[in-house]
Subunit: 234 residues, 2 copies
DNA sequence: CTGAAACGAGAGCAGTGCTCTTGCTCGTGA
DNA sequence: TCACGAGCAAGAGCACTGCTCTCGTTTCAG
């Protein structure tokens, strides 16, 4: 029933996937700016207008790629986290750094897809609602690490200044209501800072500056984790 | 002598500036992807081919805008730093946060120019050598804050792991040979993290998450400064 | 004063996103 | 069963892009 849904429907799925694959290939080769619908169609042996049956516009194709990219990096983070959890149960800092390293590895491996989701937003383009769930996957992993560490032994954080209390409470309510607001606020800024490290590397800001990027990042990620209170100070 | 260099040379300077101004206007209005040489020329009342007398290609125009943007944000940082220095001499943390806030304010005010320099690299991309000096201005301000704090009262930093020593020494040699390597390494990662905070805000990653971004950023910047050892722990 | 360099204008090329029309081919409801 | 509507590929075409080349004109320097 569900499998044999007609040759037509199946072909549509396959062709849609083929278009996305070819688009991803061009993305990896040339970057988002040079992704051309016509070139994709040409490579697939069809005419450009036929492609509009599957994606109503170039932006819609890009949106599909964005969603896939969020899912891809999110899955990588979840995988690394799960692996670290079974390899070193209870070592929250290890879970944290493993997750961070997986995200960075994905970014280095797929720089153009990374740029698509964490770089400059494309022209006049406002992210459709479909992207917000996939976009949150990495963040959810980071939160779950913090949650485990908090449930395990509590987390000592520097007290937030009074002016931030309202914001921290709103933040916590929307993101992780079961965690103390100061922790959530810290986590959000840590989250942004983590991607700052990755973006600077992927976008070339570290060129001629940082050489041994593996160890540099590993150290920075660990410090980030420490400062988020994932580990008692040594 | 130097002022009367012929009407032609003066015209060239003026027209070059006019082109960049109009390009900047289109950049702010539509983003880098939609910046069109023809539209710029049209708006300036000339024909598109004439524009190639001033910029040999679209990428060269973008490169000029990139350099200007680096200079603009660099100048903003230097200005803020100088002001803070005279307003609160010796308060290194205040100098730090003032600089950070100035950079963020510039970014929020010029999101597309910010995206141009700190977002995904646009063209086939190899950053021309002309950009590296302007690109370093913000970093130099941050370094000078750290240098002042270090010269003033020393800075206590957590010891770097042994694996990072070589990298930290190379880093320090290339960036600030007069500062202790661990401090320089910390500073570099702090630098990246600072721009992570700004990028997430400018690129919309904080949408529906962080509301009161002024205070959120101010707090995060201050913590970054503290963790870079700019202030003895309270 | 003259020749070379710089300049603006225009035509033209190859490419783009996107639309519209034209037939063909499925798959389903009568 | 089979006819009709929906889905599809193809092609022509529009308006736009970056960029090149040519052709007169203007300017400046030797």
């Amino acid at each position: 029933m569900t499998t044999t849904q007609g040759a037509r429907a199946r072909a549509r799925i396959e062709i849609t996937a083929a278009i996305k694959d070819e688009a991803r290939r061009q993305l990896a080769a040339e970057g988002a700016a040079k992704l051309s619908l016509r070139a994709v169609a040409r490579e697939l042996g069809m005419v450009s207008s036929a492609l509009y049956r599957y994606f109503p516009s170039r932006d819609d194709l890009l949106t599909a790629l964005i969603i896939d990219a969020y899912d891809s990096v999110g899955a990588a983070a979840e995988r690394a986290h799960a692996t670290a959890e079974t390899a070193a149960p209870g070592d929250h800092l290890a879970h944290w750094t493993a997750t961070c390293r997986a995200v960075r590895a994905w970014a280095v491996e797929h720089p153009h897809e990374y740029a698509l989701i964490y770089g400059s937003p494309v022209p006049g383009y406002t992210a459709p609602q479909d992207t917000v769930v996939p976009a949150s996957r990495v963040g959810l992993v980071l939160i779950s690490v913090a949650r485990a560490a908090y449930g395990d032994k509590g987390i000592a954080l520097p007290p937030l200044p009074e002016v931030l209390r309202a914001e921290a409470e709103r933040l916590a309510a929307g993101v992780a209501p079961d965690l103390p607001p100061p922790l959530v606020a810290t986590l959000v800024s840590t989250w942004a800072q983590l991607f700052g490290l990755i973006s600077f590397e992927v976008f070339g800001q570290f060129n001629n500056i940082v050489e041994d990027r593996d160890t540099f990042f590993a150290n920075a990620a660990e410090r980030l984790g420490r400062e988020s209170g994932l580990l008692p100070k040594p």
